[in-house]
């Protein structure tokens, strides 16, 4: 699944226009995505360190598992 870069952090971003509330992201990354009453995702806003391999892997699964391709991982570089 690619090289895991240790530095920096990441957040999941959802495209609300593409999202259709399938809820797969919550099942695949329950620590990063919560679900609202109607099945739409509530994404954790605080960045997760990229060193958290498990969280990054679950985020990647969520991106891959989205039936509408509405998710992406946004990386945030460390402040120098």
């Amino acid at each position: 699944m690619g090289v895991i870069r240790r530095g920096g952090s990441f957040v999941l971003k959802v495209n609300p226009i593409l999202c259709d509330g399938f809820g797969h992201c919550h099942e695949l990354a329950p620590d990063l995505v919560d679900i609202d009453e109607w099945g739409y995702p509530i994404i954790k806003k605080e960045p997760t360190p990229t060193g958290n391999v498990q969280a990054l892997q679950s985020a990647r699964y969520a991106v891959r598992g989205c039936p509408r391709q509405a998710l992406r991982i946004e990386r945030i570089a460390d402040q120098p």
Partner: protein, 218 residues
């Protein structure tokens, strides 16, 4: 061209054709499960989606075996071109062409799914609708040219598949959950409810979640 005339090739063609049709039925049904948001309690919705994706690859493999064994069987002349170009097979031109059309459509659906991250989602969805036409075409191909569909058991199987796809189609269009109801994702992880530590990784503390009760359960 290699002209092999072993009856085993013919047997393989028939067997892989039947298995491919059965697998395509399952794949189509699982696709409607994904679209109608089935799962989330005993099995996850993502698991049904993964099964749909994985089984489709198995179906394509059986379809490839079906096609290759047909073409290399020298007893009937079909030719490699007839695998992708319809109406060029000297043997049973129309019936083979229907299978070719089904294969072309399946190929389009498959390639668009492989390129899913690179193409627009609307494009992918549009191409994915072809799978219904592809399935019906494959069914007609099986009914018209299948050696086994001359017998009762094969006809029963094809009729069963036809019934299954009609049910799947009707359910796909009329059984879709409405926007407000039935869209809650209850993940198996949530149902088991392990005593998770309220670490910083959780977006909400468990007791402050927007709705843990009063969800519309289907």
């Amino acid at each position: 061209m290699i002209g092999l005339t072993s009856p085993y090739l013919w047997y393989s063609t028939r067997a892989t054709g039947i298995v491919a049709l059965l697998l395509l039925t399952l794949v189509a049904f699982l696709g409607t499960f994904v679209a109608n948001r089935i799962g989330g309690t005993i099995v996850g919705r993502f698991e049904i989606n993964e099964l749909h994706r994985s089984l489709s690859i198995v179906a394509v493999i059986f379809l490839a075996l079906h096609i290759v064994t047909t073409v290399i069987d020298g007893y009937v002349a079909t030719g490699w071109f007839s695998t992708v170009v319809p109406f060029v097979s000297p043997y049973k031109t129309t019936q083979v062409a229907i299978g070719t059309i089904a294969f072309d459509l399946i190929l389009a659906v498959w390639i668009s799914s492989l390129l899913k991250v690179r193409i627009k989602n609307a494009t992918w969805r549009f191409i994915h609708w072809f799978s219904w036409i592809a399935y019906i075409t494959a069914l007609v191909h099986a009914a018209l040219i299948g050696t086994d569909t001359k017998g009762a058991s094969g006809l029963i199987f094809v009729a069963f598949c036809a019934g299954a796809i009609v049910v799947a189609g009707l359910w796909r269009f009329f059984g879709r959950p409405t926007r407000a109801g039935g869209r809650t994702a209850l993940s198996p992880l949530e149902r088991v409810a392990p005593p998770r530590t309220k670490s910083a990784t959780a977006p909400f503390p468990r007791d402050q979640r927007p709705t843990s009760k009063g969800r519309a359960r289907r």
